[in-house]
Structure formats: C-alpha cells, structure tokens
C-alpha cells in the first residue's frame, strides 16, 4: 500500500514537472522543472531498489548536467523568450497528434506486452540471480562482463573533454578567423 502511494505521488511529481519543462515559456523555469523531474526519477529508482543508480542519477543528472544547463541559460541571459513554441497550426497539430498517437500506441503495446511477459514467466521461472547486494552485483557485471564498454566510455569522455575545450576556443562557426 505504501508502495502504491509512493509510486503515484512520484509519478504525479515527475509528470507535472515534465509538463512544466515543455510548457514553461521561461527556459530557466524549464530547467529547474527538469531538475525536479530528475530528482523524482531518482526517487523512482529507489522504489525499484536501484539505490546506487538513484544516487548516481542525483549526482550526475541533477547535480551536474542540470547545473550546467542552468549556468548556460544564465550565461545567455534570456529572460523572456519572444516565442516559445513553433509557429504553424497544421504542423503543430500533426506534431501533437503524432505524439499523442505514439503515447497511445506505446501504452497499448505495454499492456499487451506485459501480459505476454507474465505468461512467459508463468511457464519458465526466471533464473533467480540474487538482487540484494545491489552495488556489488552491479560492480561485478560492470567490471567483469562489460569492461570493454567501461573503457570505451572512458575514452569517449576524454574525447569530449578535448572536443569541448576546442569548441570553446573557436570563436563560433566553422570559419573561426573570418
């Protein structure tokens, strides 16, 4: 019962915050709402038992990425956006409709799909890996099975660190010196 209350509460928070991300006309409000969403998602991870991932979500997304967004927005100093949304009623309608249909379809697929999953579960018991010492099993999987991805991400981060520095050096545009 408490699980349900928590889930519905968090769902409400994340959805409301997410809506305000796309509806607020001031980008700074959008960014702060997105930070709120991130915190909500982190709490959702906790309800799913992924404690470490929840912490990482807080540190990386809420504590780092969104701070960067907010800093950049303040750097730009865009107090009011003249026009927050795209023009064009027809394309707008198509866009909203496509998003709506997509959402409907996905929800439909989920309801169909989870039934299939449950049916499959009924026939074959899912191999019970221990799920308790969560961080430990995560570490084992990350460093024994997925070690290549881990190293590759290290290289990716290095490349991006070099690239962003180079980008911020250039005066913008491709013809930096004209």
């Amino acid at each position: 019962m408490t699980d349900a209350i928590l889930f519905w509460f968090l769902a409400l928070v994340t959805v409301c915050a997410g809506l305000s991300v796309i509806l607020m006309s001031n980008p700074i409000y959008s960014a702060l709402s997105l930070a709120m969403t991130m915190v909500g998602v982190s709490a959702l991870f906790v309800t799913l038992g992924a404690y470490f991932i929840a912490g990482v979500q807080l540190i990386v997304y809420a504590g780092a990425v969104m701070v960067l967004f907010v800093m950049v927005l303040m750097l730009f100093d865009l107090k009011h956006e003249i026009q927050a949304f795209t023009r064009g009623k027809i394309t707008g309608a198509i866009k909203i409709a496509s998003v709506g249909i997509l959402a409907g379809l996905v929800v439909g697929a989920i309801t169909l799909g989870t039934k299939a999953i449950e049916a499959a579960k009924a026939t074959e018991a899912v191999a019970g890996k221990t799920y308790d010492n969560n961080t430990m099993s995560l570490a084992q999987n990350l460093f024994l099975q997925n070690v290549f991805g881990f190293e590759a991400l290290g290289v990716l981060l290095l490349v991006i660190a070099v690239g962003t520095v180079a980008l911020s050096r250039s005066r913008g545009g491709t013809h930096a010196r004209d």
Partner: protein
Amino acid sequence: MMNMGTTPFEITINVIKTILVFLMMVQLVPILVWVERRGSAFIQNRFGPNRIGPLGLLQLLADAVKFLTKEDFVPDKGNKYLFYAAPIFALIPASIAYMAIPMSTPLIVGDSKFLIQGFEVNVGIVFILGVSSLAAYTILMAGWGSGSKFALMGAMRAAAQIVSYELALGLSIVGVIMTYGTFNLSDMIAAQQGALTFTGFGSTFTAHFLPNWGIFYQPLGALIFFASAFAESNRLPFDLAEGEAELVAGFHTEYGGFKMLMFFIGEYGHMMIASGLFATFFLGGYNIPYTTVQGVHDWLMTTFGLSVDGANIANTVVHFLMYNVKFLILLWIFIHVRWTLPRFRYDQLMDLGWKTMLPWALANTILTSIVIFAASQFAF
C-alpha cells in the same frame, strides 16, 4: 512509509525523530554564530557581543527579533518566485544530507530499534554527495532571482567553485570506500572500533597505542577531504563567492532579514555535514577511541549494574556525547581557520582545486588501490 518502521508507534517516533534532528540543526546555527563572533573577537583581541545576557548569549535572541522585524524586500529587477524560493531550497539539501549521518549507536529498547539519525541510507555516501550537490541550484536561483550583477557573478563563482571542489571531494572518498568496502556509514563506523589493526601481507599488525581510525589509513585522503569540504561550504579561505571587495556579499547581496538567516542555516548546515562526515570517515564516528560498542555496553552493565535496556540507553547517550565532542571540535576548527587564514585569489582557488587537489586525490586513489592489491597478493 517505506522502512520508517513497522508499527504505528515506530513510525510516529521516527517521524518525530527526523523533525527533532532538523530542529537540532536549526538550533545549532545561532549558537555557532555566537561562537563565531565571540571566538573571532578573542582571536582578534576584541570583546565581541557581551552586553546582552551572560557572555552575550542573549544576543542571539535579539538578533532573531531584529530579523523578524525587518521589512520584506524584493528588488524590482528580480524574479520574485526564484527570489523567495531560493532560501527555502537552501534549507532542504543541507538538512536532508545531514540526517543520513549516524550520531550514536542504535537505541534498542525491547523489540524496537531506533537509529540515532534521521534515517539510514544504505548507499550513504552516494546519497549525501548527490543531495548536497543540489545546493548549487540554491545559489544559482538566488543569484539569478536577485537580478543584480553582483549577485549573479557571485552565484557563478560560487557554483563553479563548488563544482570544482566536488571533484576532489568525490575522489578523496574513493580511497575511503576502498578501505572499508562499503557505502554504508554505519558499517564504516563499525569498522573503526578498537585499536589500530592492519591486516595484509599475510599477517596482522596491531598498534595498541592508536585508535582504529580511518585517518591512519587515509591520511592524504583526509587532508584533501577536509580542504575540499572548506571549499564546498564556501568558507574562508575559499569564500570567493562573497569577496566583499569585489562582489559585496555574493549571491545573497539583495537578501536581508529572515531569508538571509535561512541562507545562513544552509551554509552552516554544509559545515555540519562536512564535520559529521569527516568524523565518520576518519575519526571513528561515534566510537569512543580504543573501545568497541559492545565493550562499552558490557562495561556499563557490570560497573553500574544496569539492565540490558538501561545499558543500551546509557550506551547510546555516551556515544552520542562522544560524537558531539568530535563534531564540535571539528566545527571549532572550521571557525578557527576562517579567522586565521587569508583569502585566496580566484585563479589560485581554481588552480588549487584542479591542479593540486585533484591530482593528489588521484594519487591517493591509486596508492590505496595498489596497497590493497599488494597486501592481498603478497605475503611476508
């Protein structure tokens, strides 16, 4: 509520307990302010507040009254919502992160067990780091919401500084995590009982004259952690965010009255987190040096003839006092350093963070891992 107890009684107690911890934190702030003022006066050969009440203690009350009677000011240029929201958000991350630090042994009465902390989080360190990293929003919101150049610049500086030192802080903790093999703060404290014992290289070495504290395993880590903690809480010598000469008062230039006070609570809260964490990581937490929790419990039972429950309660109280001794000493060091050291220049600050502390924290990590690895692989 999840994991806040099973019976309504436990839930009620736990809820009241969290509120109590919060109020305790809030109450500590005026006292610290008073200590800071008196202490700085002694350091600088002045009197400090000494008119109202004994030793000027009632000055706190007078300040509170002054804060309450200030008029509520919002600058025209600012953003009203962010301006009001910022001080409220300043309270939240600091208090919540502090509540995850255990302050004493769990209180066990009959079948019920109460933790002497807001709540226990099994990935404690990650949780505290995550929550306290949210503090950057407060600063940015305040700086932006004020609509003032000084405030915005102060906010940017403060955010960049916090963010830079978070790296060194986070990296210095890696060595601690490696040493204890856990994220859980209570487990860390449990690992620091008794006398210093080092196991590895196929033998066990015990130094009876030293307590089994983390600072002896991680001296370099402790140093880096302590220094970064100063920067994280924007204290001198790292209080660049509010360098009076350039930025007036930094991101809270436009604030006054109670809202200002709330920023203060947040700032002192970060100081308390740093002290609490330092005590937990490196100074054995609530452990009494050279003893184990069980040992103290047995001693209490035999010496004073207490029942098991009574000894439990006494044990908790004793450890709580021990924790507070360490905690308050560390807070005093914070205050003392503030009034002793001069301020860095901004470039010096950034250089220190990125080019000195981060490499040293890296070196500490590598060294720790090599030692642990070698200790397990080779035997003498």
